[in-house]
Symmetry: C2
Subunit: 432 residues, 2 copies
């Protein structure tokens, strides 16, 4: 399979702003076409892209080797180099993920609602693509294929901006996707990658490229997300923090509390769905606190706690108010004893980030109140916070997790990469 460079020429000596505007205009034009592509056409395109990714493996891995060598020479951390490095297995996984996106049900054209008016007008609300989605990411090269594939499935054009470290790998993957699009009769510009490492390109994307970007999805660390929130002039699907709580209520089953707390905190500590704070009802502290704290410490988790928690285990270090506000993304947990449900909810509303919060309780009335009153994108009763994931929700895949209140909240799957329009069917009606 040829490794075709279908990117338009990008005059680095020209005006970056002009070049970015050109990317925006081409994306908008491609979005009009991709929005009207049939489910079958899009699915074939995604399968074809997967084939092209497999066939272009050698070229992609060779570009990746250049990125990895540069990252090593620049003294990057081993964690970054691990995220950056592709091998045959990881590349196969990327291609397979694209294929799986193709197999998801088409979110475009769904009838979201339909109603007939007394005058005989039939009004339908129909899902349509959002338009052009700008994705800004850092070192994980798989985001190129995942994000491009998800945007495409939902009938959108994507403008991708890779981090400096993964730039060559991302360009190779995007070019391969573009070849797959063309081979499927779809416009290459449905997936574009910003062909420069110049950080000014990010600023241009955040300005919306003259109305040619409808939404920005940042995929990366806190610094990136903060910059995007501060500068973006278009809507953003993102979360800044995942300061997630597990509240162990008085009636919690201790065995269940143990397994949920352990999984919420320690399954993977670096993901946004990981718990960062454990709240324990004082009414069960005598029976539940010590076993939970010991379990965490024995699992390798540092515990920071209030006085009651410290009294339960001498290995607990004192927590300060800053701990209640910290997303550790590490094997550290803040533990606080609270005076019942209202205090737990008040703590979560004061210090949380409206991402994912869980209650462990056998009392259904208490669970109902927690689920109603905690104002987070995802609220959980008797299960782990680490289920905060598009795959675990059954969305097939997610482009990210949002904590904004508009349009998209929680895992952002293909359904939330669509919007809607009203189709009104008449037989000559005029308005009185």
């Amino acid at each position: 399979m040829p490794f075709v460079n279908l990117r338009p020429d990008f005059a680095l000596d020209g005006s970056l702003a002009d070049e970015m505007r050109g990317i925006g205009r081409r994306a908008r034009a491609a979005a009009r076409l991709i929005a009207l592509a049939s489910a079958q056409t899009k699915d074939i395109a995604l399968r074809t892209i997967a084939e092209h990714l497999r066939a272009a493996g050698a070229e992609i891995l060779s570009e990746n080797a250049v990125d990895v060598a540069a990252a090593k020479a620049a003294g990057q951390t081993s964690a970054l180099i691990d995220r950056l490095t592709l091998d045959a297995g990881r590349l196969a996984g990327i291609a397979e993920a694209v294929e799986k996106i193709g197999a998801l049900p088409d979110p475009v054209g769904r009838q979201v609602a339909a109603f007939e008016r007394p005058n005989g007008l039939l009004i339908e609300r129909i899902a349509v693509p959002l338009g052009v989605i700008g994705v800004i990411f850092e070192s994980r090269p798989n985001v190129t294929a995942d994000a491009g594939g998800l945007c495409l499935k939902a009938g959108n054009a994507a403008i991708l901006r890779a981090g400096s470290d993964s730039h060559r790998t991302a360009v190779a993957i995007a070019d391969t996707m573009r070849a797959g699009l063309v081979a499927s009769g779809l416009p290459a510009d449905a997936v574009q990658i910003v062909p420069t490492r110049d950080r000014a390109a990010v600023g241009a994307m955040l300005s919306g490229l003259d109305g040619c970007i409808d939404v920005i999805v940042p995929r990366g660390g806190r610094g990136l997300v903060e910059r995007v929130h501060a500068e973006a002039r278009v809507p953003v699907f993102a979360h800044l923090d995942g300061i997630n709580h597990v509240y162990v209520a008085a009636s919690a089953d201790l065995a269940m509390a143990r397994s949920i707390v352990l999984n919420s905190k320690m399954r993977r500590t670096g993901i946004c769905g990981a718990a960062e704070t454990l709240l324990v009802d004082r009414a069960c502290a005598e029976t539940h606190l010590k076993p939970l704290v010991e379990m965490l410490i024995e699992a390798g988790c540092a515990v920071r706690g209030d006085e009651t928690v410290r009294a339960a285990d001498h290995r607990v270090v004192p927590a300060t108010e800053a701990d209640w506000r910290t997303e550790y993304l590490d094997a550290i947990i803040a533990v606080r004893v609270v005076e019942g449900l209202d205090a737990a909810i008040a703590h979560i509303e004061s210090f949380g980030s409206h991402h994912t919060d869980a209650i462990v309780t056998e009392d259904d009335a208490e669970a109902t109140r927690f689920l109603a009153e905690v104002d987070s994108a995802i609220v959980v009763h008797n299960a782990s916070t680490q289920f905060a994931d598009g795959g675990e929700f059954g969305f097939g895949a997610e482009i990210g997790i949002a904590t904004g209140r508009m349009h998209a909240r929680g895992p952002v799957g293909i359904e939330q990469l669509t919007t809607f329009k009203y189709r009104v069917h008449g037989s000559g009606q005029t308005r009185p």
Copy 2:
């Protein structure tokens, strides 16, 4: 019924920014409470507010008289003075509209989706209020009660900012609503009005008041909406223009085309759903163009057209490209003959504003293509564009019409003043 001033003191000699932040904080606190109010509590509150509005009629009309006198003294247009002026009948209409909002089904707590995962987790998507809605409006005092009532029904707190001309009337209405809230056991701060005419208050609202405003709804002319779009740092539900088209296709029934074109343009020329451009397929120009143009002119509409249109009637004045881009909001229409459906869609995509566009045709395949390919919030087959209205859609009432692509499009009723959260019900599940 007492006319109670429940507004907190507003130190006009203090820092406006601080005072506005205080309004934001009080709104956020009230939003938490109102979000949890039952459907019944909210409905009783809206009925109570309606009663208070009736009982406070004399006070409201007396404040209105001061506003009207000032507007007259300032030499305002008779159109503005008409919009501004209340009488007993209009006030009764305002109270009745609030009562009707109360009678609508509660949009909060609806189960939008529910799915069970293979591991037994039950995931529900539940409608929840948006939070705090900032409404910025101009001279129509009824917006105070309408917007405040709609926000309340959807469980939101409202921060209202009236135009300078209607300020005293709006404050009187808002104070009456606050008294009704308190009498119903709900927080007065669920409806706040900015108690100053200082335009800097608008800028403060557009900044989002430290995250205390979730969305801005501007209700007013183009100047206001443009300022809001340019400056807002929070999402906006609005439309800038309603450059709406009626496309009369070759197979259109002439009688139907006549009544739809006349109604779309002339029923009311000043509303955003009014048609501004008529496109006629060249294939039916010989039979349809002259009767449509004559009908419009005889109804008192000025016609600006291309050469073919001018040849059909000597009273047509030449259209320039600017006419295709103009929202007249008046008895003026631009008419163009186009070469079939593709040209009609291309014209609409080039010059339209993605608000409401209609096709008149007896050819279902052509209608289907038009409805699919025209990328507007509302697309209509064989009916008037003037149905672009929340009441006509059966939403009960609307806070405005949006042409943005995110979250809310078309008429924004109470359903779109909500967002959602995920409720996850487990029985101890942890993530593998």
